[in-house]
């Protein structure tokens, strides 16, 4: 038997940095120089902002460029970034600043615009803690998944990558390494989180586990 999974969760205390951007140049400078936790917070904020309702954007940066600067082409490019291709915040930072810099040659006029509503840079103090929920095998994991908080789901599926610097979420890593269920781990890694809310993500994972268990039951039935 592999390692027991003790679920963790996380919480954040939002900090106001006092920094504002009204133009693309200011936003670019902000993204270049802000902390990693600021980048992470503003990039993945949509997941926590509406945990059960799908929003039209996946990051605060893209949302501000879309709504306040009305630069839809740039907003689309920023929204299309596959965050999980970048396993460190620094590489994600470079990708975002690269997109904005390239846009300067595409539409220099966009850099002349000044938004009425500035972009307010936030930072976060993060807290990570253990919960009293343990999974020993796939069955207990399946039973617990609907009961964990969305903060816990967010931590294991998204935020823990800040610590592990891994491309993959905690769950699929545990399912692969501790339960040796490679096929199931692969399908969980195949979930496109950009089209899900956290609640939707939970349902999708439950669906994949149920499909796996059903298939497994059939195979066992045939074999016996």
């Amino acid at each position: 038997m592999g390692e027991v999974l003790q679920f963790r969760s996380s919480a954040s205390l939002e900090e106001l940095t006092g920094r504002k951007a009204r133009t693309l140049a200011e936003l670019l400078d902000m993204i270049h120089t802000c902390t990693e936790s600021s980048i992470f917070y503003h990039t993945f904020s949509a997941f926590l902002k509406m945990r059960e309702v799908r929003l039209p954007y996946n990051s605060d940066f893209a949302s501000w460029v879309y709504v306040s600067l009305n630069e839809k082409a740039l907003a689309e490019q920023m929204m299309a970034v596959d965050f999980f291709e970048y396993n460190t915040v620094e590489t994600l930072r470079k990708r975002l600043t690269g997109i904005i810099e390239s846009y300067r040659s595409f539409r220099p006029a966009a850099f002349e615009k000044k938004a009425d509503e500035p972009f307010y840079l936030h930072d976060v103090q993060r807290f990570v803690y253990l919960t009293d929920k343990f999974a020993y095998d796939l069955k207990s994991f399946r039973e617990l998944l609907p009961t964990i908080s969305l903060y816990s789901l967010y931590y294991h599926f998204i935020e823990s990558r800040l610590e592990t610097k891994l491309q993959y979420d905690d769950f699929s890593v545990w399912i692969e390494e501790s339960l040796a269920l490679h096929e199931l781990a692969k399908s969980i890694r195949g979930i496109d989180i950009h089209v899900y809310t956290l609640e939707g993500l939970r349902e999708r994972m439950l669906g994949l586990i149920d499909e796996y268990l059903e298939k497994d039951k059939t195979v066992r039935g045939v074999m016996s």
Binding site: S12, L13, T17, M50, F127, S149
Partner: protein, 411 residues
Amino acid sequence: MSAPSLFDYRDVVGPDIIEELTILASHVGDRSIKMVNSTAVGGGVAEMLHRIVPLLSELGVQVEWAVIEGDEPFFEITKAFHNALQGKEQVFPEKAFKTYLRYNDMNEEAMKFDQDLIVIHDPQPAAMIRRHENRRNRWVWRCHIDLSHPNEQLWRFMAPIVERYDAAIFTSALFSPRLKIPQYRFYPAIDPLDDKNKDLDKAYVEQVFVKYGIPRDKPIVTQISRYDPWKDPVGVVKAFKMARKYVDCRLLLVGDKAADDPESDTILAQVKAEAGDHPDIHTLLFSPSIATEINAFQRGSDIILQKSLREGFALTVSEALWKSRPVVGGAVGGIPVQIIDGYTGLLAHTVEGAGLAIRSLLNQPEFARQIGENGRCRVKDEFLITKNLKRYLLLLLALDKPQGGTIFLNG
């Protein structure tokens, strides 16, 4: 009826949220907190403390709430400070500052500050920190007002006081000034179990509408706000009249009259003049209103408006969203934080925009239902009292840690 316990919130926010609060509280251990403000009754801060303090205590946190004392001259000065910090032009004589400091010193002498965390609410007691230069505990200033454009003279006096704190808390980035100390963001929150927000019987809702002679024979569009120019009740009537050409509905304006507010009669007269003798426009003025009746008006309405031209955070929006009402809000102050346009409500920038939004919602009931439901989720995620409990627990946990980065509570 006794105040709701933490357990009562389980059904509202989910057991997982309460479980995590208890885990965080277990990490807080025996750390203690003292809240200080200027009044035990009346006003949003006292209302919030009446709920937060017993719930923190139930979570095992040692919490104390103290109220400063003062007489009329002091509170006249602090009221003027309050308005000037929110931008009102006024010149203060040196005497006003001296009186303010004297009363702060008197209160400081009468209190003990042994707790790990001292949270001072708003400007009235803020200067008590002056006598705690060599403190061992942490002091945080919780500012509930909009400090984005403070009166310059007053801010020159207040800023050095505020910067003696270890940190400040503001409601939103919109309302915070530049300061040399760390700032946290605590959104304000509603209590889903208080009279203003608790579930009501349909029969009671109907009874309230009957009591005030408002027929529910057609959709009702309602704005519940003071009769104040910044809430734009005249604009609401204009927007309603534009929408009314296309869709049959009623408008209900409900306002409270504060004892020291002579302006509301004037504005109400303007509203009535704009409404003329339109049979579908109803105005009510209370002094004061009854919380459960306001709750009933919100629940019994098809659309809630908050067409403000200038706002603080406007928690009335969260109150309506919590009841799954589709809301049309002015795109000012804290309203866009609560209303994600087209998803958790509709934002309007003009009378015409508000008129269109009313038509859009009344003609598309499924869309209206969906954004009402989305709005409830938004409030559940961010603007309930349980979220503020969590923020205070995190603040206690952040006390002795360097700012930034990640704190692993289990080592």
